[in-house]
């Protein structure tokens, strides 16, 4: 790398030092500043099932509009499977599962988890009606059509709000990815919906599913890379430890699955194998993002470094002030602290 760009090692080190705002931020015996989540493995599985359900509902409605009833029925079934598994996973993760209904005590837009609970509740009801209508036709005419539209409309935010759930925390690898993480999750939700439909749909009815599986897979892989690059040092967790291994697995599975769907998706075996690989890749991707949050929270450098850097650069005043103010009304009261040189 350095030979190619003609830069000396010292120059490269300087560049790296410039990238690392505070190479060794101070901490209290290396203890984390923010707490890692207490969420259990149910949550990354839910990130997957929620995305699968939401995108599948939208896919189903679109397939129906196009007249692909065979694809639509299967996509409705997948959406229903997703919204059925999701609340089970979420309730199992609660510290007090018997109190799950407290999630719907109020409507609270500052809490993505509360918004998500309402989305999931609405999605569950409408998707149940939609799948009943699509598979049996027993639902009275207007109710079935309304339920399908509502299920698809709720499905889109259901597939992306989980990114808001993670981004709306103090965990740097999640919070600082807030602009792009929803798009990463949207892509893998699309890939999941397409891939799940491929598992059960005859190949001649599955052209849209193949396009979605491949398109979602490619977009997801690209966006994940962009996210990691954009995060800079804060993106380290996505390349290290369990999160890094999961991301590698996700990329390998998704890429091979997408290639198989693109090349052999016209045959049943190719579609099933490719779809299964893409699904496994999407699941690993969610797991990678989940684990990266734990790793990010556990390292005080990721929390303190950027905060110290923006105070030092004068971008923000920070929370400490060394200058006393004589009166609380004094407009000049806020002054950036300048550490005294030691030694």
């Amino acid at each position: 790398m350095s030979a190619a760009t003609g830069r000396s090692g010292a120059e490269r080190r300087r560049d790296e030092a410039a990238m690392v705002p505070d190479a060794e931020p101070r901490s209290y015996y290396g203890h984390p500043v923010v707490k890692p989540p207490v969420w259990k493995p149910e949550i990354p599985f839910y990130l997957f099932t929620g995305g699968l359900a939401g995108a599948s509902a939208a896919l189903a409605l679109l397939a129906e509009a196009r007249g692909d009833d065979a694809l639509a029925r299967r996509a409705w079934a997948n959406a229903f499977a997703g919204v059925s598994a999701s609340p089970v996973l979420l309730i199992a993760d609660l510290g007090r599962p018997s109190r799950f209904f407290n999630m719907l005590r109020l409507v609270k837009v500052t809490s993505p988890m509360n918004v998500g609970s309402w989305l999931l509740a609405g999605s569950g009801l409408t998707t149940a009606l939609a799948v009943a209508d699509a598979c049996t036709g027993v639902v009275p005419a207007p109710a079935g059509a309304i339920a399908k539209r509502a299920s698809a409309a709720l499905g889109l935010p259901l597939a992306t709000y989980t990114a808001a759930l993670l981004a709306n925390t103090a965990i740097p690898a999640w919070h600082e990815a807030r602009g792009i993480l929803p798009f990463v999750f949207a892509s893998s939700a699309a890939a999941s919906a397409g891939a799940a439909a491929l598992l059960t749909t005859p190949p001649d009815a599955a052209v849209p599913a193949r396009r979605i599986a491949v398109g979602g897979a490619v977009a997801g892989m690209v966006l994940f890379e962009v996210m990691e690059k954009r995060l800079g040092d804060l993106g380290e967790p996505y390349g290290e430890g369990a999160a890094g291994r999961l991301k590698k697995a996700a990329t390998a599975l998704t890429a091979s699955g997408a290639a198989m769907v693109a090349g052999l998706g016209g045959r049943r075996a190719g579609a099933v194998a490719g779809g299964a690989l893409v699904l496994a890749g999407a699941l690993c991707e969610r797991w990678s993002v989940f684990r990266a949050g734990f790793q990010s929270a556990s390292d005080p450098r990721h929390t303190v470094g950027p905060q110290r850097a923006r105070v030092r650069q004068g971008a923000r005043g920070g929370a400490a002030r060394a200058v006393a103010r004589t009166s609380p009304e004094d407009p000049e009261r806020k002054t950036v602290f300048e550490p005294r040189a030691r030694g």
Partner: protein
């Protein structure tokens, strides 16, 4: 007007002046009476009995079973090594101010500086934990403090990674989240919180926030006059990333030395951007699916 005061106003005539802690770490002697008093009064379960090797701190950071935590930091600071540099205590002592200011409590005189600080929930003005709580278990009291209602919390754990200070945690075997209540029960009986009452040196001062802030300014000025240039107030202003705290501190080093974030920002300050990106991604997902399905050849 800070958010906390707006929220307190919803109590109408029951609203009370905002209560808080001013923790003056220059007066802390590391006795841990606050930790004990807190555990006793709030009936917090015993936890780790361990040797951490981290100075006299065998408590560990704040969590579900630790609502007050005394940090111990040992530092080698040159004392009088350089005549040009105004060293902390030697100069001040000569002026007879150090003893008056109570600075001798943490300075050993042989170059070892021993910082002690009792950490606690900050009872933020913009409290991320309260914002993200999906059940409303976390609420703003009439004193402007932030409290978890143990009969509502369903243990979803969302507040745990939302707190920029890592204060809240889920209690093992209980499932719910617990943190400092600023002794809500005692406040309602016009008593001061257990930790403040137990503190033998007045390092933990309880009172009305406005009054505490004035007191802190005077203390900061006095320490500077005594040659303690390192002294600084932490979370004492409304214009920081959490809108100021109900529990603020006087520190002698950078906040991160004590395990505190130097520029904490409530995550919900970015909520608009987060929801905008989430909505845009949902629309993009719909558009992408529509293009793929409706545009496919038959």
């Amino acid at each position: 007007m800070p958010r906390a005061e707006l929220e307190v106003r919803t109590y109408g005539s029951a609203a009370r002046p905002r209560a808080g802690f001013f923790t003056d770490t220059t007066l802390c002697i590391g006795c841990k009476a606050c930790e004990v008093a807190c555990k006793e009064w709030n009936r917090i379960p015993a936890d780790m009995q361990d040797f951490t090797g981290e100075s006299y701190d065998n408590t560990g950071p704040l969590d579900a079973n630790t609502w007050r935590h005394v940090a111990f930091i040992e530092q080698k600071v040159p004392v009088g090594a350089d005549g040009a540099a105004r060293s902390l205590v030697t100069t001040a002592a000569a002026e007879g101010l150090a003893a008056d200011a109570g600075l001798a409590t943490y300075q050993e005189g042989d170059g070892l500086r021993w910082l002690m600080a009792s950490d606690v929930c900050k009872h933020c003005t913009d409290a991320a934990c309260l914002d993200v709580c999906p059940t409303g278990a976390l609420f703003r009291t009439e004193f402007g403090t932030v409290v978890v209602q143990e009969d509502v919390c369903n243990g979803c754990g969302y507040c745990v990674p939302a707190c920029p200070f890592g204060v809240l945690d889920q209690r093992e075997g209980d499932g719910r989240v617990w943190k400092c209540t600023l002794c809500y029960d005692r406040l309602r009986d016009d008593k001061e919180p257990a930790c403040a009452q137990a503190c033998p040196t007045n390092s933990i001062q309880f009172g009305e926030l406005a009054e505490l802030r004035e007191r802190a300014e005077q203390r900061l000025q006095r320490l500077h006059d005594a040659g303690q240039d390192d002294a600084r107030l932490y979370l004492a202003d409304d214009d920081d990333g959490i809108g100021g705290a109900g529990a603020f501190f006087l520190l002698l080093d950078e906040p991160e030395t004590y395990g505190l974030p130097p520029d904490p920002v409530a995550t919900t300050r970015d909520l608009g951007a987060i929801w905008a990106a989430t909505g845009a991604a949902a629309l993009a997902l719909g558009a992408g699916l529509a293009a793929a399905v409706l545009g496919a050849r038959r």
